[in-house]
């Protein structure tokens, strides 16, 4: 193993193996769940703008659809490998199962660098991808969504191609569509609000009234901003926000003991979540180094920026007052840091749960598209609350019952649910 290069699918499999041991899964179940159920690899020829035909390689991996149609992204990436896609498909299976969404997990992609492709060529790729896969895709088979280097426009091209082949309108074929073209309201808020819904439940569990809590947030992008908004509506106080300063190539923490004013801060923020340093200082914020957010004497830490922010080096700086860490970003904490933290009395809401608002809203989009009836934003967010809260409590209960960490409990539930569905169908 030590000489084997890093491989994300190996990592996903070993994560599964560890949990399968705990669950005591039998061999057939392991055999089935360790591998994708279906893999398609195919070629897409397109004619380039300047004449010659180029051939591209496409993939779709369905990890498991025992609980429902596959659901997962499609990315355009050079040197995409089947192993990366397998890992991502497996991750989707667990995520949907944890949220108790009736969907399976899948993922796909095209090996290409969109920087070398015109929009017209990208459109051809999208349409070619759908043509090659049309029998294996559909609202009740496998539902794609945007991922790296693909966006709403690509989804619409794919939808159009699929509908042309099927000869009917099937907006539930794909998610990530713009509002008005089969998209769902509440999508922007989903991740941040979802995080605060579970945070609220965690506070209840710990018996702390939200209005008496303070928080420090890393990241002022979509997740961070909506999380802060809802948290403050709940009565909590955010005293510090850290973000990346594009101009200076470093990050800063902006602190106000009396609590940040969300609206004025958002008013001096660019669309990438970068706060204007000078204007913030003028508004009376203390401008501190980027790492300072972690050292604030608050009840709640919300890392909502990028991965690997809490490491073995800085985990000890987390002040004793901190009671909850809610992972808004993917993998913001290294496993070594997590081991250190486990020794302290800090309640961790793991990323797979805390940032599941996005995938849940994606599911809502598909539901709305399939019935061709679209909800108001309140309704979307209300239903999100129900789903998030339910998922939180099932994880919490299991963690208590089995003495697991919240993260392990989340995986445990997810795998158990999928294995159960396979059993119910008589597959294993």
């Amino acid at each position: 193993m030590s000489n084997k290069p890093f491989n994300s699918f190996d990592l996903a499999q070993s994560q599964f193996d560890r949990m399968a041991d705990r669950l005591g899964l039998d061999d057939p179940a392991r055999e089935l769940l360790r591998w994708p159920m279906r893999e398609t690899q195919f070629l897409i020829p397109i004619r380039t703008d300047d004449g010659p035909v180029k051939i591209f390689r496409g993939f779709r991996v369905l990890h498991n659809d025992a609980r429902g149609p596959g659901k997962g992204g499609i990315r355009f990436h050079p040197q995409e490998t089947i192993d990366t896609i397998r890992a991502l498909a497996m991750w989707m299976t667990w995520k949907c199962a944890l949220m108790d969404i009736p969907l399976g997990g899948s993922h796909g992609g095209v090996v290409c660098d969109p920087h070398n492709l015109s929009l017209r060529e990208q459109e051809q790729l999208c349409r070619g991808w759908v043509r090659q896969l049309s029998r294996d895709l559909g609202p009740r088979i496998d539902v794609p969504a945007p991922e790296i280097m693909t966006n709403a426009q690509h989804m619409l091209w794919m939808l159009d191609e699929f509908e042309a082949i099927r000869g009917e309108r099937t907006p539930g074929f794909i998610t990530g569509k713009p509002v008005g073209m089969g998209g769902s309201l509440g999508r922007l808020e989903a991740a941040g609000f979802g995080l605060v819904f579970v945070l609220r439940e965690a506070l209840k569990e710990l018996g702390i009234p939200p209005e008496e809590t303070t928080a420090s947030v890393q990241g002022f992008g979509n997740v961070g901003q909506y999380a802060i908004r809802l948290f403050q509506q709940m009565g909590g106080k955010v005293v510090c926000v850290a973000c990346w300063d594009q101009k200076e190539g470093t990050s800063y923490s902006y602190k106000k003991e009396s609590g940040v004013d969300f609206n004025s801060l958002a008013g001096i923020t660019d669309r990438f979540g970068g706060i204007d340093k000078k204007k913030a200082a003028a508004l009376g914020y203390d401008v501190l180094p980027g790492s300072a957010w972690l050292e604030q004497d608050v009840d709640i830490l919300i890392p909502a920026a990028i991965e690997n922010q809490i490491t073995i080096d800085n985990v000890k700086k987390i002040p004793p007052k901190v009671k909850i860490v809610a992972e808004g970003a993917n993998g913001p904490m290294t496993s070594e840091a997590e081991t250190v933290m486990a020794g302290r009395n800090i309640f961790l809401i793991p990323d797979i749960l805390a940032n599941a608002g996005g995938v849940t809203c994606s599911y809502f989009e598909q539901v709305q598209s399939s019935m061709n009836y679209y909800w108001e934003k309140d309704e979307v967010l209300g239903k999100l609350d129900v789903k998030m809260t339910a998922a939180f409590h099932s994880v919490l209960e299991l963690a208590k019952e089995k003495g697991l960490s919240m993260r392990d409990a989340a995986f445990y539930i997810a795998i158990a649910r999928v294995a159960q569905a396979c059993r119910d169908r008589g597959w294993i």
Binding site: M1, K4, P5, D49, D113, H115, N116, P146, P178, G249
Partner: protein, 1063 residues
């Protein structure tokens, strides 16, 4: 006159005299241009027009005597107070115009007459002479036409008839034509003609090349012996050997050519500009009748005009002569502000644009796309205008400025600017400029330098001299003042430190600098309070920054911005233009929604019409307020809906709600703009036989060409010659695919990520650690003195195996970014071409190079990279565990004091990294003062001085300061005009002290910013960038604290004030 102090009354008197004279001249021009008029009426008219034009109209009378006839003022009497001028036709005196005062008046320049009156008199007789000549010719032809009618069927007599008329009316021409006929016959090899010719010139001699010699005099000399008998014989021979039609056609042609013979005087270089202007004007009117000079003379005149006004470079002349006709100068000369004795040129910028315009005009029948190209209305001041400005104001000693010490130049420059702005212009220039303003009305203007040095191939003086925008609003007086002010400032920029430094480096100091001026209307429309083009940009016919292997050099490069083009020309550092390869418009630098939004232009340069200023405004605010008023906006913006960025449908834009991003998608898809741009670039490159770059702007309707020159390269972006004889062991790498231009000398460190070892890293944290370590090294190693080499795609998102995961800020200080595509089995990975932060690389001028080890022609000295000592454990002990994968090589230590030089030649598609002797000592502090000044324009030296000064004034006890350090560009001697001063303060005081310290430093920061603004024109709102670190930070070696006592590029401690307050 300039040195005689004149009071205002005198000035007004002077000006009103000039006005009278001009009005007199206009009246007479009017008479001469009236159709169906006769000589009598004209003479009468002149007699009437003269007195009001003279200083004492009441006692002024005039008389014209012309071929025996006389015409005079009603109250005419002869007196001693007279001035006169002869009326001549073809150098023969045929009359005289005399002006008398009937009473004695005070003595002036010429008796009682003013100098200007004498000149006016000369002009009047000259015009009258031309008129009479023209009238005679017309008459001859009319008679001839009538005769022709009578002689139908008698062709034989036609040419004789014409000849007879000539003999009667114009003896000179008659002789001339006879002689030309004789030449013509002898050139055709008719023996008898040759004999006649010898007889005529009194013996055998070289044939007279009449067409190329100087006017008429030498001909007359040769014609002395052309007797009537000889002429008879000549035409007898002609009748024998030529058909009647041939003879007639020749005579007609020669008569017509003779009308343009005056043009030949232009080939005389010493001819004053006023005469040239006059000759070109006359030609313009005659040329309108379709009459042309014979080809050889025409070419001679063309070449003279090109050399005189444009450039004497032979390659230029050869090209220009193909596209620029004599009459094309009419338009230029009509738009020149000059002193009559000027001999200057238009300067590089004007010349480039002028030629480009005529190339496009000549070739426009070939392509629809070329037809719509426009050039904004332009006025010129010739290059010697600067010299006459200097001597008029007794400022000649300023020319010596360039030989002074560069520090001195820098210090004195603001003073020179002020002196120039307070100087005055010669009266004729002021009058000219006043006319310029009348022509432009209140259209905003740009005053641009057009230096003779700019014209020299290879010396790109781009941006070294000033270009100033004028709102051109207010009263005429205010506008004139603003215009002269701007011209003075552009003149002053000739003596600015940057151009002088730049010239010194290139050995061009002794080249006499003359500066032409271009006054051009700004293309654009009024948008709210602002005036701006809809969009503008620069385009290069060769693409030096290819972001995809599918883009070829000849696909070109376009940098497009909304508003004034200044933001596309300059690299602003905080904003980005939209980059497009015109030959491959589909392939964009930025593809994902996030990239497109991040690298979209955020600001616009505009002219504020109410404040009379040039301004930069946020595009977001501009669109909200005035989006509706910007023409063709729907072609410039796309709508960001959070999930995608798409073109608006038609003009359906909600300026309040829509999140608008400048993408130029509509423009790129436009059927007019892109094809136009491509056609222009292609044509100019083909005709000028060199890659070109152009500046352009559009008011939303038309494409305006603003500048054209051979493709310029940013400093360090020229194709660099690669020596062929480099010993193999000195080559670290050699590449021959996808190379752009550039050269980076003096690289002292290499960060090398070992491709196989990186591939073998098995856990994600280690892979991520490589990126983090690179980020730390980026801050530790000397800026722009190291290169980064690594496998695959730097900054890859998604699968980390594809390349080291870094962001731009982790690599921002590297000089070159190298991606290594090592074959795995039979699979060769694609490289990113730096696309993840491509625009950042372009704006920061970081070079990019892909390497393909194992490919034919590629050299890759693996041994050097893998066996040179690795200093990583020493500089970053916490990353020592990566030492197998991440190697940091101190080049001089590993190569006996040699450094790495990277030479890149895009033209040959070759790049080499070689070991060579350093051109600078390896350690920056050892750089001698002079060298450092040359390199960096000395922006760092005064920064360092000031930092030392600030430190020496800082009371450590009062503020709780333990140490004061300078680092970054100021310490490393590579500060630019916009750099701030990085200060690190070791602080150990109270909160109150900290606040006081920051306040104290803020004062300094603002003051220094002001000084920097005075020096460079850049303002940042505070020049000091203060970083405060504490004992704890230093103990933990965190962030900036790691600079203190660092192994490489450590912060430099400065001495503090001796404490006054006892601590």
């Amino acid at each position: 006159m300039p040195d005689q102090p004149r009071n205002i009354d005198n000035l007004i008197w002077f000006l009103s005299e000039r006005a009278k004279e001009l009005s007199c001249l206009y009246k007479i021009e009017g008479l001469l241009n009236k159709p169906d008029t006769n000589l009598d009426d004209i003479c009468k008219g002149i007699i009437e027009a003269i007195p009001p034009g003279w200083q004492y109209p009441d006692i002024c009378v005039a008389k014209i005597s012309l071929e025996g006839h006389t015409c005079q003022s009603p109250n005419f009497k002869e007196t001693p107070w007279v001035q006169f001028a002869d009326i001549k036709v073809q150098d023969q005196q045929i009359g005289r115009l005399s002006v008398y005062y009937t009473a004695e008046m005070p003595h002036m320049a010429d008796g009682p007459f003013l100098k200007e009156e004498t000149k006016l008199l000369g002009t009047i007789v000259e015009r009258l002479g031309h008129y009479i000549l023209y009238a005679r010719m017309k008459q001859v032809f009319q008679e001839y036409q009538t005769a022709k009618g009578d002689l139908t069927g008698h062709k034989a007599e036609e040419w004789r008839m014409a000849l007879n008329f000539l003999r009667e009316t114009n003896k000179n021409l008659y002789l001339d034509i006879s002689r030309r006929m004789l030449n013509f016959l002898s050139w055709r090899g008719i023996h008898e003609a040759e004999q006649l010719l010898q007889k005529s010139v009194g013996g055998p001699r070289a044939k007279d090349e009449r067409a190329a010699t100087d006017e008429n005099r030498p001909n007359q000399k040769g014609l002395v012996t052309l007797t009537d008998q000889l002429i008879d014989e000549t035409f007898k021979l002609a009748a024998q050997h030529l058909t009647n039609e041939q003879i007639l056609a020749n005579i007609q042609k020669w008569i017509q050519e003779d009308r343009l013979s005056f043009l030949v005087q232009i080939t005389n270089r010493n001819l004053p500009l006023a005469k040239v202007v006059d000759a070109i004007r006359r030609h313009h009117h005659i040329a309108a009748e379709g009459i042309e000079l014979p080809p050889a003379s025409k070419r001679g005149v063309q070449v003279s005009l090109i050399q005189r006004f444009l450039s004497a470079r032979q390659e230029f002349v050869n090209t220009a002569v193909e596209f620029v006709d004599i009459d094309d100068f009419y338009e230029v000369l009509d738009h020149i502000v000059f002193s009559p004795e000027s001999h200057g040129r238009l300067g590089g910028k004007s010349t480039g644009l002028f030629l480009a315009k005529h190339i496009i005009r000549k070739c426009s029948p070939l392509s629809d796309h070329l037809r719509g190209i426009k050039v904004p209305k332009t006025w010129y001041i010739t290059s010697d205008g600067l010299l006459s400005f200097l001597s008029y104001n007794n400022l000649n000693e300023v020319v010596e400025q360039k030989y002074k010490d560069i520090n001195q130049v820098r210090l004195e420059y603001p003073h020179i600017v002020q002196t120039f702005k307070n100087s005055s212009f010669p009266t004729e220039v002021i009058q000219g400029l006043s006319m310029v303003l009348d022509d432009f009305k209140d259209q905003p203007l740009i005053v641009r330098s057009s230096s003779l040095l700019e014209d020299r191939m290879g010396s790109s003086f781009s941006g070294k001299y000033k270009s100033l925008f004028l709102a051109n609003q207010g009263s005429k007086r205010e506008r004139l003042e603003a215009l002269t002010d701007a011209i003075a400032e552009v003149y002053a920029s000739t003596f600015g430190p940057d151009p002088i430094d730049y010239r010194a480096e290139r050995g061009l100091l002794d080249f006499a600098e003359e500066m032409g001026i271009m006054i051009q209307e700004v293309v654009g429309t009024r948008v709210g309070d602002y005036f701006m083009p809809a969009f503008a940009g620069v385009a290069f016919s060769r693409n030096e920054f290819r972001w995809s292997p599918r883009i070829k050099r000849e696909d070109g490069l376009l940098r497009l911005v909304p508003g004034l083009g200044t933001r596309a020309v300059d690299r602003t550092g905080d904003d980005y233009p939209v980059l497009i390869a015109p030959g491959q418009v589909g392939l964009r630098v930025n593809v994902s929604v996030d990239e497109i939004a991040r690298y979209a232009p955020k600001k616009v340069d505009v002219i504020n019409m109410s404040m009379n200023t040039f301004e930069t405004v946020e595009i977001k605010d501009l669109l909200k307020k005035f989006g509706r008023d910007i023409p063709a906006l729907e072609k410039m913006v796309s709508i960001h809906d959070g999930q995608r960025i798409s073109k608006p449908v038609g003009k359906n834009i909600d300026f309040e709600k829509d999140d608008l991003i400048v993408t130029f998608e509509g423009l790129i898809a436009d059927r007019r703009f892109m094809p136009q741009l491509r056609a222009v670039l292609h044509l100019l490159e083909e005709k000028l036989k060199t890659p070109v770059d152009i500046e352009f702007a559009s008011d939303g309707r038309d494409f305006y060409l603003l500048q054209c020159r051979p493709q310029s390269y940013l400093e360090g972006s020229r194709p660099t010659p690669i020596p062929k004889d480099i010993p193999r062991d000195k080559i670290l790498f050699f590449s021959n695919r996808f190379v752009s231009n550039g050269q980076v000398p003096d690289i002292t460190h290499i960060i090398y990520v070992h491709p196989q070892k990186y591939d073998e890293l098995h856990d994600e944290p280690s892979l991520l650690a490589v990126g983090r370590a690179v980020g730390k090294l980026n801050k530790l190693l000397p800026r722009r003195r190291f290169v980064l080499m690594g496998p695959g795609r730097w900054g890859s998102r998604g699968d980390i195996k594809l390349g080291v995961k870094v962001t731009y800020s982790d690599i921002s200080n590297t000089a070159v970014l190298i991606e290594i595509a090592r074959k795995k089995g039979n699979f060769r990975p694609d490289l990113s071409f730096g696309t993840h932060f491509f625009q950042d690389l372009v704006e920061a001028e970081i070079r990019y190079l892909p390497l393909y080890p194992g490919e034919k022609g590629t050299v890759f000295n693996e041994k050097f990279f893998e066996t040179s000592p690795n200093i990583l454990p020493e500089v970053l002990p916490e990353f020592a565990f990566l030492a197998d994968t991440l190697r940091v090589i101190d080049v001089p230590k590993s190569a006996d004091g040699l450094v790495l030089k990277v030479l890149m030649n895009g033209e040959r598609d070759e790049a080499a990294g070689i070991l060579a002797s350093p051109s600078l000592p390896a350690e920056v502090p050892l750089v001698s003062q002079e060298q450092a000044e040359k390199r960096s324009g000395n922006f760092w030296a005064w920064r360092l001085q000031m930092a030392e000064h600030v430190a020496s004034q800082l009371d450590p006890a009062r503020f709780g300061v333990k140490g004061f350090y300078v680092f970054g560009s100021t310490k490393n001697a590579n500060a630019g005009p916009q750099s701030d001063i990085d200060i690190l303060i070791h602080f150990q005081g109270t909160k109150k002290q900290r606040q006081e310290l920051l306040g104290w430093l803020e004062g300094w920061s603002l003051a220094l910013d002001e000084i920097n603004y005075q020096k460079t024109g850049h303002r940042s709102g505070g020049l000091l960038d203060i970083h405060i670190v504490t004992d704890e930070d230093i103990a933990r070696k965190e962030s900036y604290a790691s600079k203190i006592g660092a192994v490489t590029d450590a912060a430099r401690p400065l001495a503090l004030k001796k404490s006054e307050t006892p601590s």
